[in-house]
Symmetry: C2
Subunit: 282 residues, 2 copies
């Protein structure tokens, strides 16, 4: 699958390039959403739009008009071969200082093919390892899907090993934050837990969906998970809006294994039915 | 002065736009240098190039060929009206995941006009205030002039007040790191001190130049400066490669004043003679 976008719109106009003075390039001054497209439709679209709007408010970037963005996304999602739509919103042009004086927004919408993870990962689970890269704490940026992602790039650069599929990130106090491109849930008894993201990390839309899942036979809780405590979990999964829910069955060095959890499987199938992730046999 | 660049080169080709999949936009995956041009020449050019090369090494981005970059920069610096040349180096294209697998570099060179700070600021000094935004700590990124600058954007957005010219940034342990777009030096007796930048902050080229200044009658030291301790300083200045050295004479709320220091003035004149900052009467 080529990297090239199938189509792109910049402020509603077809194009493939960006003004060099865009603050997204100059300073990472913007936000993004990466959304799965299934048969022309986007699962959890409302959650993506809500997160984008919240991010714009927190960064004081004018929110793109909802109807305009929705129409652009729908148009691109309907194109043949599109499996992912990515939205980037930046604070427009300006390369002469950090002051965010521009009251402008630039919106970029990219239509891309989908690159599936192997179905075996969804069925049998994946292996993870701890990254040495730690996430810096900044409450003003925590939770946002902003464009400053060098920490994730460095963390992801730590492994290129077919035996490890995702890296886990801790903050400077040795608390789990998430994976390099996923959120993490771990079940301890009757509580399915995921870390608070008020100091670091990205609040994924699937994380939000899982936290609201009802009738699972477990409570969904935002709770601190110390690095050492993860091995005590009964089941673990990672999730994001492209891959859905994927069981974690192994921690590499220090070694630890978990079973594919029954509740993980149930959540996975429920989310797959909503369009995100493979349907796999229970 | 317009924001538009006077000229731009992307990988050596004249142009004004960037491929949308550039990782500089997608993830802030790159570095930059902003350099003063004086009569076609760039003061401290070797320091800028050395910092850029070090940043590329630390981020595992292939370093642009020195001779090629030097020729491009020289060509743009010689154009009429150019007062600033900005280099941006990114990891090239790639929007499908954080993994930094691309072994490519994209180099962008922008020629821009210079926007002077008022000469009175250089002569009489400026006022600063503490920003509420704290800098997150990340040793792997600390010191680098990378493209993830949302913390600076948020901090700079805290003031839009003609009575305050620069904001001071502390880390989460209440230690001074620097200004939003400057490094900070404070003299305590015979020691001119600037904070270590091994956890946060940008290691400015003028900071490096000051630290190597000899025969000033003070030792130049990298030393922790607690937030409360700054008021005990005998003189304070901020510096960067566009503005040179600018005395700080006032801290706003909590109020404190410092005199324009004799050593600040001496360093300022020495750096102005090298082309950065105004020549001001002693």
């Amino acid at each position: 699958v080529s990297d090239a976008p199938i189509a792109a719109r910049i402020d509603g106009v077809a194009g493939s390039s960006l003004p060099l003075l865009d603050r997204g390039l100059q300073y990472g001054d913007g936000l993004f959403e990466t959304m799965r497209v299934v048969q022309g439709r986007i699962p959890l679209l409302d959650r993506h739009f809500a997160r984008l709007a919240e991010g714009c408010l927190r960064l004081a970037i004018p929110v793109p008009p909802h109807a305009v963005l929705e129409a652009e996304v729908a148009e691109l999602a309907a194109l043949p071969g599109v499996g992912v739509v990515k939205i980037i919103v930046t604070r427009g042009d300006g390369a002469r200082g950090y002051a965010p004086r521009h009251g402008t927004t630039r919106r970029i919408v990219l239509a891309l093919p989908y690159r599936a993870w192997p179905q075996a990962w969804h069925r049998d689970g994946i292996a993870v390892r701890w990254c040495q890269t730690r996430l810096g704490c900044n409450p003003r940026l925590a939770g946002l899907k902003h464009l400053n992602r060098l920490e994730q790039v460095l963390a992801r650069g730590e492994f290129d090993d077919s035996n490890v599929q995702e890296g886990l990130l801790a903050d400077s106090d040795d608390r789990l934050v998430g994976g390099t491109c996923t959120n993490v849930f771990a079940r301890f008894g009757h509580a399915f837990c995921t870390p608070a993201l008020d100091r670091a990390g990205i609040a994924g839309v699937v994380r939000g969906w899982v936290l609201e899942a009802e009738g699972m036979g477990a409570s969904m809780e935002v709770r601190e998970i110390g690095r050492e405590r993860l091995a005590e979990a009964d089941e673990v999964f990672v999730c994001n809006a492209l891959r859905g829910i994927v069981p974690v069955i192994r921690l590499a060095g220090p070694e630890h294994t978990w079973p594919v959890g029954v509740l993980t499987r149930a959540l996975q199938m429920r989310l797959a039915a909503a369009g995100i992730g493979h349907e796999v046999g229970a």
